[in-house]
Symmetry: C2
Subunit: 333 residues, 2 copies
């Protein structure tokens, strides 16, 4: 026998499958004796409910989709660790997709999610994503969607973000107040709204203090290695920066490699402030002063909001996590 079904149990007990079904889910109007014998036989036979059939029948999948641009060792692990835990507790399961920063792929993935009838979707969008067209259909089906981290501006979808601009202002002002003169800004891919916001914050802080933004001190890098190379080049300038604001852990890792290669001392030759998940900064000596933007908190807020929406579809809300982003002063600035 390949796999035990409700029918098998029913046949063995000479009762109807529907009774077995009810007994197994502790339906009130099944006699205790029936329940008992059903459970016993189910145990003996090693019955495992067929989720596919159940979900199919119930028009739900028990799956929460997670779409990320690409897996990496920064930020996302914290997010995943957090959401998987909650999802499991609620009896759901997590299905993970990488868009590889391609809109085309993202669109396809959203279709797959539809095909799977995911009960909810968490997404950090690709760098090519400018609007939310491809989510409309899912939304119309009533599937809750929560955006986090990399979001689409003014999409109207619920999202978990920080005030990227404001947070960056705080970080950069910390450097300015400490008296640093040539402050480099190291940002992610330039077409990401998160990069733009953080760049605006950098610019704003500079202007607030009468500094002008020198373009050669503003670096946009696609990934860690590009960050390493571009920032490394800048360190070889006649007038290298004396401080660095870096918007992510990934780029911090790149910058640190450049600094190591060049042999600059922190903070005497180069001061650093970053926005970070809060782990990487402690790996270095001295530790890196950072604004803590915890992936775990983002993940938790995102999944909690998603479940809120699952229960109560009208509960639309944007959540801003600024309160949870303290400036952690370590040795680097």
């Amino acid at each position: 026998m390949s796999r035990i079904t409700i029918k098998d149990i029913a046949k063995l007990l000479q009762i109807n499958p529907s009774t077995v079904s009810r007994a197994l889910k502790d339906h009130p109007d099944v006699s205790p004796e029936t329940k008992k014998s059903v459970r016993q036989v189910a145990d003996e036979l090693g019955y495992q409910p067929n989720f596919q059939a159940i979900h199919f029948r119930n028009r739900r999948s028990g799956l929460i989709g997670l779409i990320i641009p690409e897996m990496n060792m920064f930020f996302l692990p914290s997010v995943i660790q957090a959401i998987e835990e909650t999802i499991r507790k609620k009896g759901y399961n997590l299905i993970v997709f990488q868009s590889n920063d391609s809109l085309e792929r993202e669109v396809e993935i959203v279709r797959i999610c539809q095909g799977f009838s995911v009960d909810g979707l968490l997404i950090s969008v690709s760098k090519e994503t400018q609007d939310t067209e491809h989510f409309r259909e899912l939304e119309e089906d009533g599937t809750p969607i929560v955006f986090f981290d990399r979001v689409v501006q003014q999409s109207g979808f619920p999202q978990i973000v920080i005030d990227d601009k404001q947070v960056s202002v705080i970080a950069v002002e910390h450097l300015i107040k400490k008296g640093y003169q040539r402050i480099c800004g190291l940002f992610d891919k330039p077409n990401l709204s998160i990069s733009q916001q953080r760049y605006r914050g950098y610019k704003q802080a500079m202007e607030n203090h009468g500094r002008k933004v020198a373009l050669e001190y503003c670096i946009f890098a696609d990934d860690m290695d590009m960050g390493r190379v571009l920032f490394g080049t800048l360190l070889h300038h006649q007038e290298p920066p004396d401080a660095l604001f870096v918007m992510s852990d990934e780029l911090l890792a790149g910058a640190m490699q450049a600094i190591n290669e060049k042999g600059f001392l922190i903070p005497s030759q180069i001061a650093i402030v970053s926005i970070s998940d809060g782990k990487l900064p402690y790996f270095f000596n001295p530790g890196i002063t950072h604004i803590r933007h915890s992936g775990a908190i983002v993940g938790n807020m995102a999944i909690d909001l998603l479940f809120q929406l699952l229960t109560n579809p009208d509960y639309v809300q944007e959540i801003n996590l600024d309160l949870d982003t303290p400036l952690v002063k370590l040795g680097s600035a």
Copy 2:
């Protein structure tokens, strides 16, 4: 209309659902005209196949399960990044579970995987897992299972591993040959077979060179922080170690924090060799000499093997990745 089905298309075209089904999958004996009109209507209506129904009908899920002890920023991201990519290419999807290093939870997850009829399973086992009882049923159903990284010794299941003992011998001998005298070994949870194997390698290397293993220099730590604390304590000993062999990136991160706190210089006061995914070692100054045990390679091999088994169930094999684990000499030893 909530969602377009094959029936809707059929009704609209006044033909039979089965014909629509065949047309949509380009079945040879459907007339070109029928196919054309079906496709057109399907497009117009925005038909999306219902995977749940398809998979249910086909008794397969299109899902590959991945069970890991717990998500973290070391090693696993590389694995996930690699396998998700392959899985997507093959038209499957990835469902991710954390056992939280609990056997009980692992057992439950395996049951869930059965319930979902996953088409294959990749697993790095919990620290409590000593046998493979709970996989037997899945195996009997014909579901291929591949173990990686944290495996169960002599389980008979296909697995992707390195010769942990031998690799550790090489790492530690590198330190011995460089003349270091008091070589500390920093290992993961003591009941993991991977920890035991790597400890044995450490011991073997020492004994090969007539060194005796001092127990106070052998540290087993559950996680990064415990590694930081325990190794930090050791650094304060009268006779602190002059070299460190550390078996994972996570513990390397912990050890580096301890070293930073203590202010020891690398390699003059403390030399280091690690086993690493190959990213973290470059974050430090000097870089950390390591044996590269790439999560990407492990992930690729694991998922490739899984798909082999999916196609050809008799293709049982254990794969040993020693050839892909070079000693990368950076500045730390």
